[in-house]
Amino acid sequence: MTAHLTIETAGPAMSVQDQGRPGYRAQGLTIGGAADRIALSEGAAILGQLPEYAAIEMAGSGGRFTADRDIRIALTGATMSANIDGEALAWNASHLLRAGAVLTIGGARNGTYGYLHVGGGIDTPPVMRSRASHLAGGIGTLLQTGDVLPIGKDKGRETARTLSSSDRFGGGTVRIVASMQTEDFDPETVARFTRNTFRRDARANRMGVRMDFDGDGFSTAGQLSIVSEVVVPGDIQISGDGAPYVLMYECQTTGGYPRIGSVLPCDLPRIAQAQTGAQIQFEMVDMETAMIAQCRFASELSALGKQVVPLVRDPATMKDLLSFQLVSGAVSAPANPFEQES
């Protein structure tokens, strides 16, 4: 018998997401999928299942959920207040959600995108080999109050497991590499771009994030005559008003605005998760540095399962864990698996 998750109350921007739908760029459809891919891997590691499983992405705040059978859940990404029938839950951990019990997930306390994973994954029918809603492309929709989602067969049993999360929720330094149009900008403009401190604008969604800044805009000499070229997630597009937009997984496939550089895939979650107003700086690195960073990230991501530890269940300690998390965005486990160069 299939278990189901019922959305008793839907937050404003919840959708089913997985690692996206590659292979359709030539037909005008970008990969889409979870805004924070690290969170998908963390949820999978905590539940001991594949990172390909679909989860619920919650932008800004969650909602209320019930299940018709006992299921396992895990919570990752931006920390949100969470409880089951009033009992507070640790974030970045797995829990048992009993049949009929009410899981309540509130607003984000850091970051933007929180994730609710279930043991066995959300098992909605795939569209073109993926369950990800691609809202800009017209695939799937936001989840609504009353939606009932099928859950895949859960092969695991363990709950009360946790993982230290990388601190990617408060903006900070984001590494970029030169891209195909970087040299269309004069070197002084690129230098000014990397010296600047930007703020994540409120104008942001799964397609892209606008960067707010003081001073002059950024432009190229041939800005308006550039022929439309391929767009990839991470591209920093300079729009007509001189403001940069970092393009996310649901971006368009082609575009005529010049790209000043491209964010390393491993640093893209930091853009996705930055809250409105969070400060962001772009650091230009050479290809070799970028390759090393990205390879290291990939191997750390695949080794996340080894970092999973039992959650200390003593209520007093749990409270402490929660408060610790709210301040730093990380629970008190030893190493930060995503910390680079230090």
Binding site: P22, Q27, S179, D235, G255, A298
Partner: protein
């Protein structure tokens, strides 16, 4: 050595081969033909290919694939033929897409004709009999950029944005036409309305068009358009197709 074709990296996501500095017919054919040649090579490091107007993109994980060896492979393939003289892809189709020009469903016909300097009836006469080719698919799933129309239609985008045109809207600018996949804002002018679905995600063939396909947008009356819209269940809005030899 000529400046073109140009090989450039796109972040860590892949390599772009560009055949011209601006939209051109030979550049577009080169991009399509080169993409197809790359696909035939089955290079293991290339995970996906696509074209934009005059360039071919090879998606490659540059964090793990050495760029120098890949660039050499691409250069060798580029030297094999004159890509600018390449023929169009095989298996192309010609589509006839019934279109309602003007009326409240396509409110910018008169404005577009005025900018082009001809009267609206002549505009409909010319556009509804022009055969255009899909130059590239992009921006939204299955959404075609089609051209090139006569020099008359070298009209700029409008200054402001139209807040939203509906799916199936036929819009015009810079000698090109687009049929919109989804409701979207646009700087192009909305001159015709079709019921032609360019992206049908639940169908066996989610993407209706391929680059290289050709289209004609014959004019139909409001009554005929309404009949098509209320009876069509295929998503193709009364369009018919034939295979081009």
């Amino acid at each position: 050595m000529s400046e073109w074709p140009k090989i450039r990296t796109v972040g860590l996501s892949g390599v772009l081969v560009t055949f011209a500095g601006a939209m051109s017919e030979p550049g577009n054919r080169a991009a399509l033909a080169f993409r197809s040649a790359v696909d035939e090579q089955n290079w293991p490091e290339v995970t996906e290919t696509s074209t934009s107007l005059v360039s071919t993109f090879l998606e490659v994980d540059l964090a793990s694939v050495p760029l120098a060896a890949l660039t050499e492979r691409i250069e060798n393939l580029l030297e094999k033929q004159d890509w600018l003289a390449a023929p169009l892809p095989a298996g192309r189709k010609l589509w006839h897409v019934p279109t309602l020009y003007g009326t409240e469903l396509a409110p910018q016909l008169e404005e577009a004709a005025e900018v082009a300097g001809i009267d609206p009836a002549a505009a409909v006469q010319e556009i509804s009999t022009s055969r255009v080719r899909v130059l590239t698919i992009g921006f939204a799933p299955g959404q075609p950029y089609m051209g090139e129309l006569s020099e008359t239609w070298n009209i700029p985008r409008q200054q402001g944005l139209t807040k939203s045109v509906p799916p199936g809207a036929l819009v015009i600018a810079i000698r090109q036409l687009i049929v919109f996949t989804n409701a979207a804002p646009t700087g192009w002018r909305h001159i015709g309305q079709t019921a032609f679905g360019t992206f049908l995600p639940d169908s066996d063939q989610p993407f209706t068009l391929s680059p290289g396909d050709e289209l004609i947008f014959p004019s139909v009356s409001p009554a005929e358009f309404e009949r098509i819209r209320s009876t069509d269940t295929s998503g193709l809005g009364g369009a018919s197709r034939e295979v081009l030899k």
